[in-house]
Amino acid sequence: MRLLVRFSIFSLILVLCACVQHTNSTENDISNQADLEKVAVQYAEGFDILYEEGVIKIVTQSFGKNAFFKDSIYVRLDSTVKLDPVCKTIEQETIRFACQSSTHLAFLAELNHLEEVVGLCGLEYVNNPEISEVLKKNLVVELCMTDQVQLENLYQSNPDLFLIYPFGSAESNNYNDKGIQTLLISEYLEKSQLARLEWIKLFGVLTGRTMEANDYFEEVETAYLALKTAATKTEKTFIMNLPFQDQWFMPSSKSVGVELIEDAGLQYFYQDELGTENKTHSSEQVWNDGVEADYWVIIARRSADYSLEDLINEEPVYKEFLSVKKHQVIFCNTNQVDYFSKGAIEPHVILKDLCYATGQIDSHEPQYFFLLE
């Protein structure tokens, strides 16, 4: 009996490892083309691209202390390549996407692949008018009426691939069982802005636009690193965000958002709080610290004409903050700009905004962050 169990497990492993059934008829110029358009992952830890004969294997996975998950999908370049039916497979360039996050839209939009989006969670929260118009025109289906994915709506959108978050990743098995292929996308877990942006290469492979993705990444990387190198490191400190009731959700010092602001030459006030997750601070703690912090970086949803005076009206103690006294409140109004989506693929623009707001560069037209007046 034990032998039978061992044999079964061994057989199963063999089947899983040998998803690709090679044929002898793949001697064409596909491999040459793939060489030209190959993706090399430099920064990102959450995904990998593996090239095999006639197929590209995309692997997404957890890393560090994150909850464990691993996912993979084969992108078939050659229709003659036979893959095991248990493997997730898609045909490149003909994929219709459903997305659980609007951040995925930014990657797809940059690669001119927005037309292929058929379903999305949170349609009404897309505040980029151009993207929103395309989605409406294409009758993209709202997948989440509440915070749950509505299965019927997902079926209605009929995607080839559903890009989902890894939290609650057990759900992905359910979708796969119901005939909807999924891929776990975890770009938000990356440790740096460039690593996060590098996920565009994965989207490049999915959409058959590897070259465009590589070019875009290199362009942004060069601009970002140039700005980072030019920025002068200062002793000036910053705090972040606004409270909700009596709690401030302040990012930890190793979070991507903090790192981006530090690249502009500032120092995070809560440097000792290691980790990447948000940490809760009481209002009185931040009030106490705000008196000393030189800058205050706020990402919030407010009216278009939101001013420094409006900020003080929210809580009178803010007028005691050093940043408010010195007019050094750097604000990003998510009601006005597509920070959470497009911002993920434009870290160089955000960094330039921050460098301008902190006086590192003289002339620039801010797009995401500006000094609150």
Binding site: Q245, D246, W287, N288, V291, V317
Partner: protein, 336 residues
């Protein structure tokens, strides 16, 4: 004689409130010494200019806790006497849920407590929601003699309003939904000086009216027929009780969220601890005990850097008290 024997308990509770109040002013995430706090309270300054705001915030918060706890306590006590049911209270009877529905309509409709319109709208909507539920309960009580059935009806009102709120969630935007959810966790924090002035004025005036109900309450303990025989106008007393308790519970719910357990636990605890049966003693004792419990719960919340929701703490403290009192009451056969 019995009144005298209760004085030490009331004195002890008042002393407890004073100690907790001072601890609430002194302790928190930002460490300040007694001298600094005293300086700031008397109009002086401190080394950090934000500290005066921190002390002010702690002071407001403590005042809100004292008044809200007291108001919920006496509201629960009056309802227990009125419905002749020791398990009655603003939460159990669905009054809090009614107020929550009113608040939900306003908040999820897009108005916030920051605006004048939002403030007035939320208060009115909360009061209307609470009073409507009370009138409905009163109407049902004409047909239901069994007090347990009446309580179940109150619980059903609670479920019904919760369902309506869930429906409202579908149309609300993310910000409004989040604001409502956080409000629902309960907190004594965040009232501005204007809001505190409105809140405290309403609670003090309504509590004063409650003390005018001492005589009718003493009579109602023996039943409406006995009260009527003593010359009490039962009909107008009933209306007064519904309005006062409904508005009291609604005001607290609007400003602090649906704070649970204080309204039901404190009156029961005091009934066991206090020897007097006179509501001239029980009513103030309940107010003071409610204030003490609310202040204590808020102190625990603050010691957790506000990570523990107020309702979690009141449930942890309040639920065992209710169970203990129910067991004790069964043993000594306390009745209303």
């Amino acid at each position: 004689m019995k009144v005298r024997s209760d004085i030490p308990l009331i004195g002890l509770l008042i002393l407890g409130i004073i100690i907790l109040f001072w601890m609430n002013l002194l302790f928190g995430d930002v460490r300040m010494n007694t001298e600094d706090v005293f300086n700031l309270l008397t109009g002086g300054t401190a080394e950090n200019s934000a500290w005066s705001y921190i002390v002010e915030s702690r002071l407001y918060r403590s005042l809100v806790a004292v008044l809200a706890g007291g108001a919920l306590g006496i509201s629960g006590l009056i309802l227990q006497v009125f419905f002749r049911n020791p398990l009655a209270g603003p939460g159990v009877l669905g009054i809090t849920s009614g107020a929550s529905l009113g608040v939900a309509v306003v908040i999820l409709g897009g108005l916030t407590m920051g605006s004048v319109l939002g403030n007035v709208g939320i208060i009115l909507a909360g009061i209307i929601g609470a009073v409507v539920v009370l009138f409905l309960l009163l109407f049902i009580s004409k047909y239901i003699r069994n007090s347990v059935t009446l309580l179940v009806s109150g619980l059903m009102f609670g479920y019904f309003t919760a369902a309506l709120i869930n429906v409202l969630f579908l149309w609300a935007n993310e910000t409004d939904t989040r604001e409502y959810v956080v409000w629902g966790l309960g907190s004594f924090e965040g009232l501005s000086s204007t809001e505190l002035a409105i809140f405290s004025s309403l609670i003090i005036v309504l509590s004063f009216f409650c003390f005018l109900l001492v005589k009718p309450l003493n009579a109602l303990v023996a039943g409406t027929a006995y009260a009527a025989s003593l010359g009490i106008n039962v009909k107008s007393t009933r209306l007064l009780i519904i309005l006062i308790t409904g508005i009291l519970a609604a005001i607290v719910t609007v400003y602090c969220g649906p704070v649970g357990f204080i309204g039901i636990a404190v009156p029961q605890l005091i009934r066991v601890l206090v020897k007097s049966k006179n509501h001239a003693v029980i009513l103030p004792a309940v107010f003071i005990a409610g204030s003490f419990l609310a202040l204590g719960a808020d102190f625990i919340v603050r010691m957790s850097s506000n990570t523990l929701p107020l309702n979690t703490v009141t449930a942890i403290v309040g639920a065992p008290i209710i169970v203990w009192v129910i067991i004790k009451m069964n043993r000594i056969n306390v009745s209303f």
